[in-house]
Symmetry: C2
């Protein structure tokens, strides 16, 4: 029942209509207001409460559209989730790669290792903990998706591995003498620290009685990057970057 390749009912529309950078811009909102409203509401609810306890009725209520609209525009609940994920996934990866490329160009093909890690965790951290609320939903949705692993996402997520390999390759170019296994471990740890910080920032706040500042996203990024570099090289970062570093060079 799940693998119907041909539509017997020509009623459904659910055109893909992938856009080049997320779906948060309201340029042609009025065009298909319903579709946009569903996407926005679904992303927010999933980010807030996880996939398990958000129903389609919750989504359409938040979006103020009819229940049947989701199936009409997306085909099914799973396809809605999948579209949310692939769109956001592409956007995040694009931002990461843009920063990576800038760092490599700034270093003549050998990017500063700090910049590589910053390109890896920066976009997500900024998106999740930063002040911009709407993007926050997007990034927190991605964190949820990377954890709760609902079926429609699991298949797509395999591509993530290829994406991360590009960062591992950049690190190998940057530090050719480093043990490759250490590179993968450090990359793994960097993502772990970033994700956990986003996912359970509340526990850290409570545990430290508010001592750990979760509003200064740049400081958090710097900290994660510094630890990741130490994990990789075994010694403190040579140039502990206090200022928004060279990754911003390209503009």
């Amino acid at each position: 029942m799940r693998l119907k390749c041909n539509d017997p009912d020509p009623r459904r529309f659910h055109g893909a209509m992938l856009q080049k950078d997320g779906f948060d811009q309201d340029d042609r909102m009025a065009a298909d207001h319903t579709r946009t409203a569903i996407i926005t509401a679904a992303e927010r609810l999933y980010a807030e409460r996880g996939f398990a306890d958000v129903t389609m009725r919750d989504i359409v209520a938040a979006a103020d559209v009819n229940l049947a609209a989701v199936n009409y525009h997306f085909g099914s609940k799973d396809e809605l989730i999948a579209e949310l994920f692939v769109t956001r996934s592409l956007a995040t990866n694009r931002e990461r790669l843009r920063e990576l490329k800038a760092a490599e160009e700034a270093g003549d093909g050998r990017a500063d290792i700090n910049a590589i890690f910053a390109a890896l965790v920066g976009p997500t951290l900024r998106g999740c903990l930063g002040p911009e609320k709407q993007r926050s939903d997007a990034a927190r949705f991605m964190i949820r998706a990377s954890i709760e692993s609902v079926p429609p996402i699991r298949k797509i997520k395999n591509r993530e591995v290829d994406h991360l390999k590009r960062f591992a390759a950049a690190m190998r170019r940057s530090l050719p003498d480093q043990d490759p296994a250490d590179i993968f471990w450090a990359l793994h740890f960097a993502l772990a620290m970033a994700h956990q910080t986003i996912r359970d920032s509340e526990r850290l706040t409570r545990m430290s009685d508010g001592l750990c500042d979760l509003n200064d996203v740049q400081a958090i990024t710097d900290r994660v990057v510094a630890v990741a570099v130490m994990a990789l090289t075994g010694k403190p970062a040579k140039a502990p970057l206090k200022e928004p570093a060279k990754a911003k060079a390209r503009a």
Copy 2:
């Protein structure tokens, strides 16, 4: 309907019967075989597939007991989950504190910082990645529980913060001159690395094409501890516990 404090129906039993260390010993199995079978099956299924897509019918099928048995012995699905969680939570915390205490006694009240981190992440890592399959279910269940956050667990989990504060306090005794915020961050990162390694070990394996060895639990623990210590002190661990991973010989 959800908050019935008095049982109108005296049929239900679901006595708590907390045991002193987990429920995996089969000492008096035959006594209430059904209850034990449910617990074992539920824990395994939840560990494998998460809370979202494991139904009571899945559990009773795996346990080979009647559907009504869960409600009879535990009252409800949520109470079953809660009992699983509190029992395992107590066992894990007990093991951690035992190691912490041993480390503090060995250091006259000031435990070696490496030993403190090892006490924090060691029990979980060993339980999840080690060879002992049954304990593995237990620990992976706890990881799931710490992520997916189903309602019956969310309430209990607040105590976790108090538990972690004891480790933060031990670190402060061990390194009195260290910035307290750094201690909390390092503790947070240590848990992040350990949990992510358990949760997504598959991605690390695939990303590194099998280069990262996930079978040597002691080496993984050492690595996490070493990075955590560097995150805290800003310099490599002075006295690596064991043979440090092969990366050091470079440079």
